[in-house]
Amino acid sequence: MGKKLLVALGVLVLVAAAWSGPAWAQKGPIKIGYQGPMTGPAAAVGKDMANGLKMYLDEVGHQIAGRKVELIVEDNQGQPDLALTKLRKLVESDKVHVMAGGLFAHIGYALAPKVDEYKVPMLYPVMAADDLTQRKPAKWVVRTGWTGSQPSHPFGEWVFKTLGYKKVVVIGMDYAFGWEVVGGFQKSFEEAGGQVIQKLWPPLNTTDFAPYLAQIRKDADAVFALMVAVSSLRFPKQYQDAGLKARFPLIGGGTTFDEFVLPSLGDEAIGGISPLIYSAALDTPVNKRFVKEYRAKFGKVPSYYSETYYTAGRWINEAAKAIGGNVEDSERFLAALRKVEIPDAPRGPITLDAYGNPIQNIYIRKVEKKDGELWNTVIQTFPAVSQFWKYKPDEFLKQPVYSRDFPPCKYC
């Protein structure tokens, strides 16, 4: 009979535990709230992100601007509803001073209005939803990462001019980030003279691509793939098994060949070309040290997810120092966060543009094998690229945000 009570008792205990939650003194530690997918299909990415942030905090001895730092890690499973609940928890229950978190772009859109309501600054080191620094800016969101279309803009033109592909088939994850990466590529690729002749949209977290691979048009010069998390683990292998790799070279968005997936991939990934704001193979002293120490600590090569969260930690530090550690003054803290410039992040120099998105280097990377490991060798660097690239911001903003149907597929 006692066993039957266990369930009810367990719940009661938990309720009680949360009820008597700690009430911190006014000038306690600086509290940083992190949320990301720590379980579920994207858990491995979530760990990379949390590790990056932890590594930075370890480096500074959990001290920022003379105050202790407390990091609160929450799991949102990559689900928007859970992400909103965790946001409430971090702000209302933990009373954090600043947040950093998120992976998927659509969660970025979901959280932004709530972050503005709470007036607690939140860093988006990864969530790349274009409109958050374009048509629907959120005051309290500080993007330290990138927009989905940012690397795609220079890449599209480069593919046409340098690789010489004329006709490309696109296969991308069917959600905001996928549309934006593909949209940016299509815009500049077609303006340069290329043609996107087919667009395929498998849903997020698809693992079986056979039905999509079978549809790929045979008159293509190359295939542009945009995969994320669990999908990028499966796609290159299936692409090769379908006999497509030998016929159509594979290019893609940066996350398709991210360092997070490379250790799990085999030779099928070699030759893949993609643009991103970071490569672990970057040959700078800062990055070499970062990679070496990250490997020593976590036993793997850092991905861009790790780098962006590592840099986010530094970002918070710089801003907190600028206001003398008085992070309770949210308005000033936010202003300071927006002023941060980092000249020597592992990924290169970063400043924010007038719309709040980083201006940074875009690296075109090719997967190569070195000492038995896959690396994203940088084959071209576009320095200081803004989210608008060569376009005029106000003209660019007149077009709708990239979506499944924009830019329209003229050559399909």
């Binding site: 266990l6 369930v7 309720v15 535990a17 689900q79 928007p80 859970l82 609940t85 229950s93 979901a110």
Partner: protein, 324 residues
Amino acid sequence: MRLPVLPRHRQIGLGIILLLLIVSPPFLSSFLLSLLTQALIYGVLAMSLDVLVGYLGLPSLGHAAYLGLGAYSVGVLTTGYGANFWVALAVGLLLAMAVAAVFGLVALRATGVYFLMITLALGMVIWGLAHRWVSMTQGDNGISGVPRPDLGLPWSFAKAIPFYYLSLVGFLLALWVLWVIVRSPFGQSLVGIRESESRMRTLGYNVWLHKYIGFIIAGTVGGFSGVLWAYYNGFVSPANMELATSVEALLMVALGGRATLLGPAIGAAAIVFLKNLVSVYTHRWVLILGAVYIGTIVYAPEGIAGAFTQLTKGVKPEPLRSKV
């Protein structure tokens, strides 16, 4: 046929719980209060599903669709057309009712596992619609920035405590409606159908029509939970009606105890709190949730409500589980 009223000590117990729900909000932290609000809203969903699972014996795997329909009605109407609460509520309920009326025609041709599969497929149709009909639903991005309702009352529901009371009123309303229905002769006929369809048919009942009406009631009340959810969360996305949500609703019913109405509501509360509080302490919370499910199935197959009834011996077996 007269149904026994609730025994005295159980009346007192429920009275205390209700009293606690009414007086505790000002003393709770705002995060706990938001979880309690969630529990009430999911409670409505679980109770509506209980009409199908518990009273009709038809386990459905597509119930999240109705939550989604209600939620999207609110999301689209308030953000796109500035509709007020009553319009959004009416549309949400009618839409859920209409869709249930159509789905019922298809789903009620089957029972058992086949019913499970058909409802699963129908639920995925609604999910797919939300996912692909981007011009209306904004696809995977979801609809964010749904404002809290304005009922034309002197106080605002933007704050957590007033909204909690609104949810509590909604919950009690749904409970009352369902309570009246399941204890009516009609509700008893549903139980009769669950126990023996052929006997009910011989007795002259239009079995199909009874099931159909039960199905529509469950869908409509499910839509109501969606309306509340959209206002609570301020955000609607296809994730609201994924299979996972339907499964969770089914687990709430199983955990709480089928055919008890309040049991599933308690199951909903248990799951909401487990999910959100355990995950604070450990990343292995999914494991704990799984263990709780297995523990319930093994040790308390009748759910929390069933275990409770057994504990407080002397209570007659659940009237609704006995024969009619």
